[in-house]
């Protein structure tokens, strides 16, 4: 059993490597595009509080749609393949980052904003020197959540030809071969756990010492 597993692993090693890289690639692009869209959008929404409520409500509903359903729904629009995968994953990655950018900024204590305004900062200066730095920990948490979700959903993307580690799992399930299934599942899990950990660490480095909560240090 053991020997057989090792043999399968050896035989599929190059395949696994490709799938792994592909998985990272798809997830990375989706999250980066997600950040580029959602951070500015989140900032914009803090300036339009009335619209923000509605957008957040719609986003909340969108987030309850299961990933597999979402992939299926977009299939007729964008067809089978990686572009569809990246589009769907990007849509998903937007939600947590957008929400955290928005709440992160709106939760900045009004006292700081008053101090900034009172000292003569204009609204852009207040945004970049006070609001964004103070909201940064919350925004980074959103990016971390988003990345973990995306790595997860990217495995499901295999059913619409998205490639990645989901492909390996899928192949294993098809052949009812546990070794192959785990060859996809374990690296995917480790990738998600490691990403979460690394972004968590990076976030701590990026956050100024003054904002780190005690006990977490």
């Amino acid at each position: 059993m053991m020997n057989k597993s090792i043999a399968i692993l050896q035989k599929n090693w190059p395949l696994l490597q490709t799938a792994f890289l592909e998985h990272i690639q798809i997830s990375f692009f989706s999250v980066v595009i997600g950040i580029i869209i959602s951070v500015p959008l989140g900032i914009l929404l803090t300036r339009l509080p009335r619209l923000a409520k509605r957008v957040m409500a719609v986003m909340g509903i969108l987030q309850t749609v299961p990933s597999m359903v979402m992939f299926g729904l977009l299939l007729p629009v964008t067809g089978i393949g990686k572009p569809t995968a990246v589009i769907v994953l990007t849509v998903y990655s937007i939600l947590p980052i957008l929400r955290n950018t928005y709440t992160g900024i709106t939760e900045v204590s009004p006292g700081y904003i008053e101090a900034a305004t009172g000292m003569g900062m204009n609204s852009l200066q207040t945004l970049f020197r006070v609001e964004l730095p103070l909201a940064l920990p919350v925004i980074v948490t959103g990016i971390r959540l988003s990345s973990v979700y995306i790595i997860s959903w990217a495995t499901v993307a295999a059913i619409i030809g998205g490639g990645g580690l989901g492909d390996v799992i899928y192949t294993g399930l098809d052949r009812y071969n546990h070794t192959v299934v785990l060859m996809g599942a374990i690296p995917a899990s480790l990738l998600a756990i490691a990403t979460s950990f690394v972004i968590g660490r990076l976030a701590r480095l990026a956050i100024p010492r003054g904002l780190r909560r005690e006990g977490n240090a």
């Binding site: 309850t64 299939l75 799992i169 399930l173």
Partner: protein, 197 residues
Amino acid sequence: MLELIQRAAVHLLISLSGVVLATVIGVVIGVILTRVPKLAGPVIGIVEVLQTIPSLAMLSILLVFFGLGNMTAVMAIFFYSLLPIVRNTYTGILALEPALLEAGRGMGMSSLQILFQVELPNAIPVIVSGLRISLITAYGIVTISVLVGGGGLGRYVYRGIQMADMAMLFTGAIPICLMAFLTDLLLNRLEQKLLHR
């Protein structure tokens, strides 16, 4: 039609089984953590890592232990739901006003009485919030569990994607989205009601 109703029922049943199991065990773990604060960090850490595992990967790993079928989905849901429920129970109880506990103690309640008459009732809104998140996640997992031989509405979605049959896809997708939407709505309401009692 009968098949659709049956599948919807199964979908709901699998989700509920996993979430209910997680609620029972999660609340107990959460309460234990409030009594043994030293354990809180590590235990919540482990439960957090569990939730980080991609859903399809979790299903696949559990498949090795539980085989093809609904049991694998129930277990996956169980593991995913632990985090929101354990964490919310724990923080819900910790966030209680010390004055409330003191009042309870001052009136001569035993620590079990305080738990059931003061701490848990006051933590319920937060626990319900955990339940809502868990249930909605569960519908998604059951959908995917079709890949590991699970039942429920995922069969329609999966077949719809495979055969590019939109009608088939919607047969599954609409009830799933409806369930998620209603769950969100109802439990949100319940949460608000409990909060403003």
